[in-house]
């Protein structure tokens, strides 16, 4: 038979690298419509609609102000506790939402995945975009609160430090996305691990310095905090916005390295195992 140039080929093994960037780009319209679909569908037939994007973190913060500040009395480094917690919760929500939703990729999309082809990575990327959108709104709200406290003179503010927030946000999202992808593959195969997922999220929330500063942690158990790649990110995020205590450069490098590893292995694993999972879903 004469040799031909084929546009595509389906082989038994999915390549680690997945589809080419060019092909991924050709599904841009689908990506955007998935984001739109998720965003719109979440607020159909609801009482408050998108207001929840702000209401949810506000209610969470209110709870934690009550528990950590008023009852237990953890120090907030001289910052008003509402602002201190809101800053932490905003970043935490970005992490938690991306991680959890990405981990549910196969379970949520199993009916669609079994009926139509598109690069599977499109689904988690749409989650990523959607959460950045939501995070943007929350960040805007945070900025308003920040401005209020700045004007009333309750906090100091260094405009240059704000730039630090950008890489911190990206690294946080990267870690969430990477670990989410790994968990998507694992939970796709073993459904009983969803319980573990919930546990991890809850545990992580208290191990991360959201409601306290790293410096408050007793030396004896500080290694736990140091081991957590998210610790330095929360510390730095607060540093950039509230001018509180900073974190070591080395711990930030540790976070970045962790993100690179987990992101690469997440994407590779997802690409490689995604099609195989279709047999067992």
């Amino acid at each position: 038979m004469k040799s031909m140039n084929w546009d595509w080929e389906i082989k038994p093994q999915a390549p680690w690298a997945g589809v080419s960037l060019k092909e991924l780009k050709s599904f841009k319209d689908l990506l955007l419509s998935l984001v739109r679909k998720e965003f719109l569908s979440q607020y159909q037939q609801t009482l408050l609609g998108p207001v929840w994007i702000l209401l949810y973190p506000l209610l969470t913060v209110a709870t934690y102000v009550l528990v950590f500040n008023k009852v237990i009395g953890v120090s907030t480094e001289g910052i008003p506790s509402f602002l201190y917690y809101l800053t932490g919760i905003t970043l935490w929500n970005l992490f938690a939402e991306i991680f959890q939703q990405t981990a549910h990729t196969f379970v949520h999309n199993s009916t669609v995945f079994s009926k139509v082809y598109f690069p599977r990575l499109i689904a988690p990327i749409s989650i990523l975009l959607l959460n950045f959108l939501r995070f943007g709104i929350q960040l805007f709200f945070l900025a308003v609160v920040l401005a209020y406290y700045y004007i009333s003179g309750a906090i100091q503010f260094n405009p240059l430090h704000i730039l630090i927030a950008i890489p911190v946000i990206l690294v946080t999202a990267g870690i969430a996305f990477g670990t989410g992808l790994v968990f998507a593959v694992i939970t796709g195969k073993y459904k009983d691990l969803f319980g573990l997922l919930q546990l991890i999220i809850r545990l992580l929330m208290f191990v991360c310095p959201i409601f306290y500063s790293i410096n408050l942690v007793p030396e004896k158990i500080k290694w736990i905090v140091n081991l957590n790649p998210l610790s330095s990110l929360f510390q730095l995020f607060r540093f950039s916005l509230l001018n509180t205590s900073s974190a070591d450069l080395s711990s930030f490098i540790y976070s970045v390295t962790f993100m690179c590893i987990v992101l690469l292995s997440g994407v590779f694993l997802f690409n490689r195992m995604g099609d195989k999972l279709m047999d067992v879903l």
Binding site: M4, N5, W6, D7, W8, E9, I10, K11, P12, Q13, A14, D29, L30, L32, S33, L34, R36, K37, L40, S41, Q44, Q45, V112, F113, S114, K115, V116, Y117, F118, Y190, K191, D192, L193, D275, K276, M278, D279, V280
Partner: protein
Amino acid sequence: MSEIILQAENVSKSYNLGSIDSGSLRQELQLFWQSKILKRETDFFKDINKNNPKKLFWALKDVNLEIKRGETWGIIGGNGAGKSTFLKILSRIIRPTSGSVRGQGRLSSLLEVGTGFHQELTGRENIFINGNMLGMKRSEIQKKFDEIVDFSGVGEFLDTPVKRYSSGMYVRLAFAVAAHLEPDILIVDEVLAVGDVEFQKKCLGKMKEASSEHGRTVIFVSHNLQSIQSLCSKALWLEKGRSVAAGEAKTVINSYLGTQQKKAWKHEYDSMALAPGNEHIKVLKVELVPNLSNPMDQVDIRTELTVKFKFYNLNNDIHLTASVLLFGSAGECIFNVPSKAGVCDAGMFEAECTIPGNFLNDGSYFICLYFARNGTEELYCYNECLIFDVADYREDAEFYYKWWGMVRPDFKLSLNKVA
């Protein structure tokens, strides 16, 4: 226009039988511990041993197919023949266990109507979501938006959430989007089985148009051989995961029907002990013989059918009637033809009954043999001894809908203009 646009080479797909693949992590760790650490050969371990072919189920085995640009292929075969698996591999949803598929251009698959539809969102939103999922660009959808809405006929409900649609409207909207796809290769699973007759006709017409006028390649799976025959130029016949025949649609469909029919059309028993019956009657042979010029041709409404049977009467000196009863697929009796009653002695009897051509409607039928004494007293009833299908045949192939009526006799209807 004879270049090969899609090529499947030795495509095989196997599944592990049993629940091993969907087990919990605990099971798998246990298995790992037993087999790798303790080096113990458990029965459980043997099950997942890939070298053990018994536990491996081949949904597809070495299927080869070459499709040229502009051809329309129908895939036929019984349940579990691997048709859907093959389509899923071609549409890149699952990967083959071995072999490969190569292709050119854009491929869209329609394995379900309304993939990605969100119940809470409006018809308008869903047109875009579904269109994007099937591989259309946003600009393409915008360009064809009015056409899609027109085709679906749900115009006034466009801004209503689709959960409030009737199921018919839902399907029509979904298919309207699909009908406006413009891929190089279109893969369609049995999705036409939904919607009303009028709409089905519209859809089949649209698919025909896609292949004949726009030169698109269509791969189509259906149980309805009639629609495959009218739509497809080529056909692939799968049986138990293997390709039995591939080529001209008419030839493949006819030989498929030929073997399908042979299986259920003759029962013969060598010994009295094995033959169905009781202490009064033993049926030794029952057979359906279609009067076809070519034995490989399919039985359609024009075909004359003869029921032949042979039985042993064990009673002396009785008034015996043997009847042939024909039932439709829903169990309704179409006719009951008895033999003339007469006094019979014990012995072997042969009987024959011919159903003329141009009498039965298309559909599935089964035949019962009924033996009675003195007209009413049942001796034996051989239920569902022959099962057969009658295919449709129409001079005017434009109509796809089911012909009404239990029978379809060729009575003459005269039409005269009187005023």
